[in-house]
Symmetry: D2
């Protein structure tokens, strides 16, 4: 009954196999290997667009470095108030950009809208050199609340960004889950919608530690090799970063793994919704379920060994009652069903008490 995080899962089989396969013989260091080049080509195929690929070990590094390539140190990054870059990176974006300001924008289910972004920009008028000029619109797909932007929503946000002179960054730690849900081509929710740089997540989807920064305009990546190096994110044995993506991208493993995680979350959400008194807080669109239990139930579930975290953010509307449950590629229907049964029991017990 472990639903604490998709990071609690290990390495998916295709990734581990690719790591072992990549371990034959010597290979040039620091990205001079053949596998790195092959993976860059593979990404270009997947996205149907030229890409400049930079691999790093964590999502925190991917996002913060990507932002540093898009914003001057005095720029302002417009993001959702519940976004990972605002809430969970311990100031990494501020550090790597050299001090850019994050402007947190509130809104339901961790989604930005054209209206909310416009309102935020209106309240922070450009008065150079006094206010930080807005430089980047940062979107999270799928969002921190497990929701997804439709291609149309992203296209509208991308158009707004262009109109306002902003670059578009996408935190895609769970991009695979979004594609699996939407059933769209990856291009539709990235470069075709105006995304300049996509941080394509591997780790939460079965990699060991691998995130890909994808520049759709290689011109924007001009300095990125320096940025990645000085951040201590250039692996000397880079073939082992590349191998992880080789494993994920071959035979659409990335979509199958994400699809499995999504399906388990859907099963979980549907089961929970059917239990009287359990409230689903956000629509379950990927591998996450946000839920408010009746009083005492979360504690009772934890006492039975279930693992999940409370979800407290500036936009919470449940008075701190929201819990976050995450499935991964390693989740099984049995585990989900066991949790559902435990929940039903705990709810019943709570009602009696």
């Amino acid at each position: 009954m472990q639903f604490a995080s998709d990071n609690w899962a290990g390495v998916a089989e295709p990734v581990m196999a690719a790591l072992q396969h990549a371990n034959a013989g010597l290979a040039p260091a620091y990205g001079g290997d053949d596998l790195t080049r092959a993976v860059e080509r593979r990404f270009a195929e997947v996205f149907d667009h030229e890409v400049a690929l930079f691999m790093v070990s964590t999502g925190g590094a991917a996002n913060a470095l990507a932002l540093s390539a898009l914003s001057p140190p005095w720029g302002m990054v417009v993001c959702h108030a519940e976004s990972h870059i605002q809430m969970d990176e311990c100031g990494g974006p501020e550090m790597f950009t050299g001090g850019a300001k994050l402007l947190p924008v509130p809104g339901p289910s961790a989604k930005l809208t054209v209206e909310s972004v416009r309102a935020a920009l209106r309240g922070f008028p450009e008065r150079p050199p006094h206010g930080c000029p807005p430089s980047v619109l940062s979107l999270t797909q799928a969002t921190e609340c497990g929701t997804v932007y439709t291609p149309a929503e992203l296209t509208a946000l991308g158009a707004l960004a262009r109109e306002q002179g902003l670059r578009v960054h996408m935190d895609g730690a769970r991009f695979a889950n979004a594609v699996a849900t939407l059933g769209c081509h990856p291009a539709e929710i990235s470069w075709r919608a105006g995304v300049d740089v996509l941080c394509f997540g591997g780790t939460k989807n079965g990699a060991m530690a691998a995130e890909a920064v994808l520049f759709f305009d290689p011109g924007l990546a001009r300095d990125f090799a320096f940025r990645r190096k000085r951040a201590g994110q250039l692996w000397s044995k880079q073939r082992f970063l590349a191998a992880q993506f080789e494993g994920l991208l071959a035979e659409d493993a990335w979509l199958q793994l994400a699809g499995q995680a999504n399906a388990m979350a859907r099963r979980l959400a549907e089961g929970l919704a059917a239990i009287d008194g359990v409230e689903i807080v956000h629509p379950c669109q990927i591998n996450e379920v946000f839920v408010a239990f009746p009083d005492g139930v979360a504690e009772a579930l934890r006492a039975r060994g279930a693992a999940f975290y409370p979800w407290i953010t500036p936009c919470d509307e449940t008075g701190g009652r929201t819990q976050r449950l995450i499935c991964s590629f390693a989740s099984s229907a049995d585990q989900v069903d066991a949790f559902l049964k435990a929940t039903a029991d705990c709810v019943a017990a709570a009602r009696k008490a």
Copy 2:
């Protein structure tokens, strides 16, 4: 009819006199001069408390450097959404702190309250090392909307900060105006209320370019000499910073200058309030008047040569109609009355049209 800023005024007479007086002979550089020491003692008298004094040329430097002494680079500075450090310093606080995050808190008339700060902290729970731990509560006295915190309000906020383990920074660019309005002892709205570091403004109150960073706990200032130096804020001929404060602090010039500015603003606010259709947006408590004119009147006044800026912020509730009028020590009743007359004329003309 110049009400654009108190920064449009020049240097007040007592300050200019002190500068000339300080220009006799040679003096040790970089703060080794007698005048610097004398001014530090004078500040200690004014505040009835030991202080460690560091003088710099701008409020932006004072605030950003003060914050860097109070927050680690990964810390979070809780401030009002309309505060100068958030809206007007081009990311200086982020740069000087090495990347600390500013958490903008909304609320009416640019004032934080115990409730709004508590709510903001509740929405950003400490989950080390993921979220930035809150490190500083930054208060502005008087506020960006020309309002003042009472000693009781500040004491409550200071107590909250101590309870939460936060240091308290006060942006006192218009501290003199607040003291002049409140008629309290400066200690009551600084160290006695829990303020650790006060940025005591000189420039807006008749200095040429002089702001004082006052540490009430000299232990917090241990590294500050290094911070100021590398920021390029250590004047070699520092006696000329000291002289400006000598001029301001002698014979309570600082309170008289601020009092004059406040009085002119009060006259302005009262006159405007009496004009039908003119709305006073925030209570006029210092030398600033925030006002919403009937349609077309602001433009008509500017066409007649009046100078003032629109006031657009995230917390605006007038639909972008607010204008900010500022008086200074150099403002006169004649100027105010001329503006009031022009306003009445323009309002009347607008009504006819």
Copy 3:
């Protein structure tokens, strides 16, 4: 005939086995796993001293973050002019420390001495707040020129550091090679000699991507979890960093792997020294051979498929003729002998020409 870098080797068998073994089931993320704790204990055993362990993916991150914990942003890090932190990290130490200055000290074979450090400090007198106060002595064991410090040399440098109020950082990217050569206890060349923080290298010695920052005084590590996180160096699936060290530290694999690399380099150095006209530039003490070939020989060897890099640094005394050859755990006697034969052939051919 690949002697370009120990980074061209793959993952050693015990490390790959440990990675696979660690891949069973779920585990808490971000270092909450049992394996992380076990590895920390294992390091404490190996070093016979309490340690605070922080694992990251690259040596660049390990060194730069370690320095950031030892030096204020205005401090000065005394290091060798040929050290990795000075020559090879693209300014990472400057970035992560928030701007600390590196003071490069020249000297033969990439080794600092008590005399050269004293001379450097003498030439940069403390005049607070003008000059950067020296804060850290950074030592590299083994050095960039493949030489090692003896325990006595390190003890003397450590004593100098304490006398001067400096913390001691050790870049131990090839620490294992140094221990294997010296045959000493790891403690003798680390905490007993005055080292405060050791960056213990895994990657060059058979890991995939794993470096350990070891604080011998956990008090110095107080803030390090924040520093690592915001740097994007906290792996969510940290058990896979821990597993790499589990594999290396079990049954002294780390010393056997380093010993094999060292032995191959010794064989290479002895063979090269026996070839007329080939000059060994630095004593071969670990897994690196620095050599100056007769004119045209390096090019001829590369034409035959040999891989190695020129070694150009501020302290070069061979007029740019030095080449660096590196062996790894994966090097074999056959490969070495093939290179020696090729060299002898190329030298003979060059002589005829």
Copy 4:
């Protein structure tokens, strides 16, 4: 007998007069005033070239900000080992550039040469993204040892910089003294020699606190308004920075003030050279005299009330015996002669002892 620094002098008469004159009435803040524009035009006349002018309060800020406009955070600034930016700014250049590396180059009398710069670059080969790519050549005119570069020397260094793809920064804290000595047109030792940005010093030459960053290519200054603002270096009452330069530049006051300081130093140097046992360490070319006294004489002079500092640097060749004596516009022949007499007395006394 005060020869500690030209910073011990006060404000020269033409500057103080300009400050008072500028104090009439109101003026737009933050550089919107007429005087700022007039001074920019005046600088263009003086240099016979279009300039983009940015005024700040200290040389430390001027240099560090100028470097930040010329170098990326991962770049490397080639400078003399005794330069102010290396020895005296407490790491300001590293901070404002976001972590650029300073590469200190040794050489006599604080002067770089084409040969010494070439050697330094040769020892730090570009291996992107590992080493910091050299980005800026920083020259000091006049140097920290009171020597001057001839136009020919600067032209050769400028050509080397262009050849190597480096921008040229000039620290001109004592630029006026250099022009006064050389008798050349200011253009000859600035833009015509290849200087991209000149930090033109005012403070040491009679200003209160005013340094001018002059971009000869305004395109390089594109972002500089943001950099200056966030650094807390944009004066709200900027007319009082402009006034200082108005005072200095009118009727060549800047050259007369510098000429007076130079003449007094020459008188001092010639007098000291004539005293047996007193050694002039560097040629006296501006307002500074570097001298090694016989044993005990420096102490004896200080005991008589003379003020001057020891001059200890990495390039010192006098075993720490060098003392630095500085004259200013406020120095008089009487003061110099009194010091010469005292020196002669002390030398004679030391000889007897």
